[in-house]
Amino acid sequence: MAPAVIVLLVFTVFPFFFTIFLSFSNVNLVGGLSINFDGIQNWVRLLHDGRFWNSISNIALFVSLGVVLEYILGLSLAMLLRQKIPGREVFRVLFLMPISITPLAVGYMFRMLYHPSRGVFNNILSSLGLPTINFLGDPDLAMFFVIATDVWHWTPLIFLLLTAGLQGIPDSYLEAAQIDGANSWQRFRYIIFPQLIPTSIAAILLRSIEASKFMDKLYILTGGGPGISTETPTLFAYLSGLNNFDLAYGATIAMAFFVLVLVFFILTFLVITWFGLTQLGRA
């Protein structure tokens, strides 16, 4: 017990409070490290910083669209592979492959595929006689192709969780429904889907929490660009705090972002509880 608590206190709890302190300070790295209390300067600056709110709206789009797509695709694939068809195991192993690939490597792989002139996607488009797309270079489009990368990477996780959830549904339920004359859509709508709700909520929450931290693939795909059109709060805090070495402001961004995330997930959790979907509490 003790070592675990000590490790967490030193490397998680202390840094957390230290970050709060930093956000009210003025940190100077030139000529040795000096930290001075500075009041709410950083927070005032942050509230008026359009770049921060831009990053918040970017991550909101990234999480909501990304997780929805991942869920729809993951559910469809899990349902398709519920059928006992030849080659099922091969498909399963294949579909799960992306999960374990280093996020940064995924970013690099897609960076090559998206390349405007020698990338695969534009090559396919032009050989079909379609206009090519500047995937990551267009500020209006870049975020959608960043999201596509994340969908490729994490749909398999939803697929994995829902496959496990599907295995937990007793066959007798479905057989009974079949005898009563339910067609396959009705079996899905009235039996399978309701049974999957607890797993679905857990999967969506897990993915949303992870997705809100997004920066690794982004770092190599666009670096937040073009301009700041794909910048997420984590990347913004990293760039300000540890690239420009405005440590105090970086800490403020990170803390403000965390407060927003916390409020959002507490509200979500309350809503879930209100709807009586409390099975989640046991998960």
Partner: protein
């Protein structure tokens, strides 16, 4: 109703389409690592031998390079030691939580558990800047030890959570029987609980290893030369003007292969763990 044959064909079309989507980036990465500069710059070439002549030159180049060997060693050492320590501390905490009752005022076992897991919900950037300053104080920036300590804390919540799951599946009656036979607490833990929890220990170790191997933000923040890990190396190579795709691709292959192999092996345990927690 749709005829069975049509439905099956449609199913296979979708499944094969998604398989191609999954494999395309991986295939592209592997083939690029066997291309010459000319084959990369000269357009989009898909098929070895037919469209470009494969070469092992990029591989020879990166193996001869000290930066890659150093980063590979760093990543392997940091990921395995931190996974081991996270497993050690995590197992102790998890066993304690599953077998003894703790009270710190109104704070009890379940609250401790939730507190530990909730650490994982916090975005790493919240602690990254503070950790940068802390490691600077102790002159541990850009050292393996510094990164190992940070990764242990990063992996601990997962380790405690998974191990608690595995321990709760071991019947306590076994331990009671041993106690009646006069076994000490340590003997019970070492001879009865640990062997039974072995599959869980192995799975948790490898999971933490993969997390450590793939971690990017902390590695980027806290290392740059001596303790630089593979993901950070790739990012740095890519940032150079006119990145050499063939070389970076070979490095990336080196980076992604170990986690893929390990995960295939650990998957069984993970699926079981997921099923267990959802019931």
């Amino acid at each position: 109703m749709v005829p069975r044959k049509v439905r099956l064909t449609l199913t296979y079309i979708i499944l094969i389409f998604w398989s191609v989507m999954v494999l395309l980036p991986i295939y592209w990465l592997f083939t690029t690592s066997f291309k010459t500069r000319g084959a990369v710059i000269g357009g989009t070439k898909y098929l070895p031998w037919a469209q470009f002549k494969p070469t092992i030159q990029p591989w020879i180049n990166i193996i001869e390079e000290e930066t890659l060997v150093l980063s590979l060693t760093n990543t392997a050492v940091i990921a395995s030691i931190s996974a081991f320590l996270a497993l050690l501390f995590g197992t102790m905490a998890a066993y304690g939580l599953s077998r003894y009752k703790f009270h710190f005022g109104f704070f009890q076992n379940r609250d401790i558990m939730i507190w530990i897991i909730s650490q994982r919900m916090m975005p790493p950037i919240v602690t990254a800047i503070a950790l940068f300053i802390m490691l600077k104080w102790f002159s541990l920036l850009d050292t393996r030890i510094g990164l190992i300590m940070v990764y242990v804390a990063f992996n601990l919540p997962i380790a405690v959570w998974l191990m608690e799951n595995f321990f709760s599946q071991i019947p306590e009656t076994l331990e009671e029987a041993a106690r009646i036979d006069g076994a000490s607490r340590l003997q019970i833990f070492g001879r009865i609980v640990l062997p039974l929890a072995m599959p869980g220990l192995v799975a948790t170790f490898f999971l933490c290893f993969v997390f450590g191997w793939n971690q990017f933000l902390f590695a980027l923040t806290l290392t740059w030369r001596n303790a630089r890990t593979l993901p950070v190396l790739i990012a740095a190579q890519h940032a150079q003007a006119g990145p050499q795709w063939w070389r970076i691709s070979a490095m990336t292959v080196v980076t992604i292969v170990p986690p893929i192999i390990i995960s295939t092996y650990v998957r069984e345990y993970l699926v079981k763990g997921v099923v267990a927690t959802n019931k």
